[in-house]
Amino acid sequence: MKSVQVKELCLAYDGFQVVKGVDFTVAPGEVLGLIGPNGAGKSTLIRALSGVLPIQSGEVWVDGTDLGTLSDSQRARLIAVVPQAEPLGGAYTVRQAVMMGRTPYMNWMGNPGPRDQAFVKRALEFASLADLAGRRIAELSGGEQQRVLLARALAQDTPILLLDEPTSHLDLQHQINLLSLVRRLAKENHLAVLLAMHDLNGVSLCADRVALLVDGRLVALGAPDEVLTAENIAAAYRAQVEIIAHPRYGTPLVLPLQD
């Protein structure tokens, strides 16, 4: 059974068509990389899959259930999101923020039980935030804040993880750490991961399959070396590139060429 199944999905903002009939699946244990130029509809897709944006037409099935029939807290027990970093909730401590990931399991009073504490502790350790747990979010660097968002999503303990540009504020070390963390989550915990990212080489290293979204349509879907071809990139991004194989892993590397 597929964790995420998207059929003929169309999405619109104010009548303006953004996603135009998209089909794909994400299986448990799989990382699907979602790439495409700015405005292609990547974030829109993630907003719809996480229940924030209503679906115009088409179907989204999560864990065998129609997304539209789930309540907010039911959905939040299946799908967690690492959003694009925004400086919000800065007055809370890292631990408080990560604990909010447990919201779908807590009552309205939000009093954590031992299970919630355990998940938060694990998520903090996983994102190497244990030492920063007592610090306020506003005092952290952009990269640390992004790890807080990841830890919060992990604490949510969902079979599906959606990430929207999770490495945009990270330096090289933390980019590599985060991507290998995401891959470990998929492989060891059998999470279905949808990873929207601009960094094509990052996607190539991290994703099992890649979906190329251009102007609201999926123009290519397959293994990284099938999708990340010079022709596909040229057509999608209007940029000349050369593709070589990674000397160590054989995965495609995208090298930009000068005009």
Partner: protein
């Protein structure tokens, strides 16, 4: 927990002091004895005069309790509004509720009712009606399809609030009699005395504040933005409607029975955010207790400053509140609260 006990101690002290203070001196000990004696099942040997007992039980105690309930209602709903709108300036005024309640009350005052008794019950009812109409109007104006974005809500609130205030001024200029009373009401001078207003306001405040306390956690999650809150499983639209309606009803009840009193709903939650952190599960109850204490203290000042005559308490909260607010603003520039 220490902050809770401390705030509660301040509230108790303010409550007792408020009953002790007045034109006739009644010692704190007598006050405590009179109140204890009045409790059902307690009988003390009377060492106080019947006149003192009447002053304490029929005038000062109900007045103090009404003031405390008003402060609690304004500060508690102020804290909830601030959390909901993620805006440090959010208070009952911002979304027009207080102005709407004021308009309702003044409209009722402008009409010559046959008896004084009608006034007692019709003015609060009209204030209530005004507040509910305002929320309904603001909500309809702010609605974009089925969602109410906070920005349009605040814009609509400010616009409708200004409109209501203008209508209130118009009514006051046109009406010949009652105008002093209307002005005094708008400045936060409680038009009602005795136990009747206390009993009338009590159910609204208890129900309203009692349910607002349960919204601490959703409000915490909401500080990360509506989208993220929804992604974490909070039914954002439902929380917004509940909090707006409950907080507005609570505010309207307070305005109806105590007049229009500003700054309490703004300052008290700020103060406790400084002292106790941003966790709304603590912030709302702390603001409720602290708001009661703060308004009692302001009320004492209002009675003492120009004794034997007394000022409307709204003037004192504005006089004390505005500089305090500026001080908070200065601090907020240096530190991050939001």
């Amino acid at each position: 927990m220490r902050l809770f006990s401390l705030t509660f101690a301040v509230l108790l002290a303010a409550l007792i002091l408020s009953v002790v203070l007045g034109a006739v001196w009644i010692s704190p000990v007598s006050v405590l004895q009179i109140i204890t004696d009045a409790l059902p099942g307690v009988e003390l040997s009377e060492v106080w005069s019947a006149a003192h007992a009447a002053i304490v039980l029929d005038i000062r105690l109900p007045h103090a309790i009404l003031i405390a309930l008003t402060g609690a209602a304004l500060a508690g709903s102020g804290a909830a509004y601030q959390g909901l709108f993620r805006n440090p300036l959010a208070d009952p005024y911002l979304i027009g509720v207080a102005s709407g309640a004021g308009l309702g009350a003044v409209a009722a005052m402008a009409i010559h009712w046959p008896t004084e008794l009608w006034n007692l019950y019709l003015i609060p009812a009209a204030a209530f009606l005004g507040a509910m109409l305002t929320i309904w109007l603001v909500y309809q104006l702010a609605k974009v399809r089925n969602i109410v974005p906070l920005t349009t809500l605040i814009l609509a609130g400010v616009a409708v609030g200004s409109f209501a205030s203008a209508l209130t001024s118009f009514l006051m200029l046109r009406s010949d009699a009652q105008i002093y009373r209307a002005i005094s009401f708008l400045l936060g001078g409680s038009p009602l005395t005795g136990w009747d207003p206390v009993l009338a306001v009590l159910p609204y405040v208890i129900l309203g504040l009692g349910s607002l306390i349960f919204f601490g956690h959703p409000l915490n999650v909401l500080q990360f933005g509506e989208e993220q809150a929804k992604q974490m499983g909070v039914s954002v639209e439902r929380v917004k409607i509940y909090v707006i309606v409950i907080a507005s009803l609570t505010t309207a009840a307070a305005v109806a029975f105590s007049g229009v009193i500003g700054f309490v709903g703004l300052i008290v939650p700020h103060l406790f955010r400084l002292l106790g952190g941003p966790d709304y599960r603590k912030l709302i109850p702390l603001s409720i207790i602290g708001g009661a204490a703060a308004l009692l203290l302001a009320d004492m000042l209002a009675r003492v400053l120009l004794a034997p005559s007394s000022l409307p308490v709204g003037i004192v909260t504005a006089l004390a509140g505005a500089p305090f607010f500026l001080w908070i603003l200065r601090r907020a520039k240096r530190e991050v609260f939001w």
